[in-house]
């Protein structure tokens, strides 16, 4: 009894979507995934996933990586990154890892609630005071 959609493997992404690039797969360009991404092939370009990204096996990624949740770079894998933006990061011993790392909630470009629109401030222009009658 499975109500899961095909391709759903119950991974961490809320929608359960998961994409796997196997050892013989190769991607040149940009990839955006709503869900998780597992790379054990070669990627030359930029990767973005709303869930986790795992570079495993002998996976080699050259380029920008953005994971809204977690990035794992396995022991035999390599990430020669330009920009690496993640919320959580695990680098296993033996991995090759180079790049500029930004971590923290604000860094992953999560869809943020629109900023509250500033209330227009009422501007009161004071009437010029009537010159008072000079005393004394």
């Amino acid at each position: 009894m499975s109500t899961r959609r095909p391709g759903s493997n119950g991974a961490n992404g809320q929608d359960g979507n998961s994409v796997v690039l196997g050892p013989k797969d190769r991607l040149v360009g940009q990839l955006f995934i709503e869900g998780d991404l597992n790379v054990s092939g070669t990627v030359d370009g930029s990767l973005e996933a709303t869930g986790d990204i795992e570079i495993s096996g002998g996976g080699k990624v050259t380029g920008t990586v953005t994971a809204y949740n977690r990035l794992v770079v396995g022991g035999g894998a390599s990430l020669i990154g330009g920009e690496v933006r993640v919320a959580r990061l695990t680098v296993e011993d033996g991995a090759t890892f180079t790049g500029r790392v930004s971590m923290g909630k604000a860094e992953a470009k999560e869809p943020r609630a629109a900023e509250p629109i500033a209330e227009p401030v009422e501007v009161v222009i004071a009437e010029p005071e009537k010159p008072k009658a000079k005393r004394r």
Binding site: R88, T90, V91, T98, E107
Partner: protein, 135 residues
């Protein structure tokens, strides 16, 4: 037999946190200790409390959980479990523990980052040109 002046020194330096272990020197700090300035040390350091400045050692650097470090760190194996702000160079391996919070550029030969650690900075990996460090 001449029992060197090191005995007297040893007694004094033990209070300064210097302990000999396996014939290798270890500079050991406690959670209430403060180090400010530049330390070049032939041995290893266990850093706790507060460290500010520059620390270059021939051995290993170990920053305890709860320590606050604002310094340039250079050592063979560097293990960070506390908050570190500054450039870090590990001639061999850098390990970031799950409570590590590191902000600064790092240069390493090998790298391990445990889940939970936080890192903001540029990572360079591989053999690096020998700088005019402690060598």
């Amino acid at each position: 037999m001449d029992v060197q002046e090191a005995v007297a020194e040893g007694a004094a330096s033990a209070e300064n946190g210097e302990v000999k272990r396996d014939g290798r020197k270890q500079f050991s700090m406690g959670p209430g200790d403060i180090l400010e300035g530049k330390l070049i040390y032939d041995g290893s350091i266990h850093a706790d409390g507060r460290v500010e400045g520059e620390v270059r050692v021939s051995g290993n650097i170990d920053v305890a959980n709860g320590a606050t470090v604002k310094a340039l760190l250079e050592g063979s194996n560097v293990t960070l479990k506390g908050a570190v702000e500054g450039a870090v160079t590990a001639r061999d391996k850098l390990t970031l523990g799950k409570n590590a919070r590191v902000s600064g550029d790092i240069q390493v030969r090998r790298l391990q980052i445990d889940d939970g650690a936080s890192l903001n900075g540029h990572v360079r990996m591989g053999d690096f040109e020998h700088q005019a460090s402690g060598q």
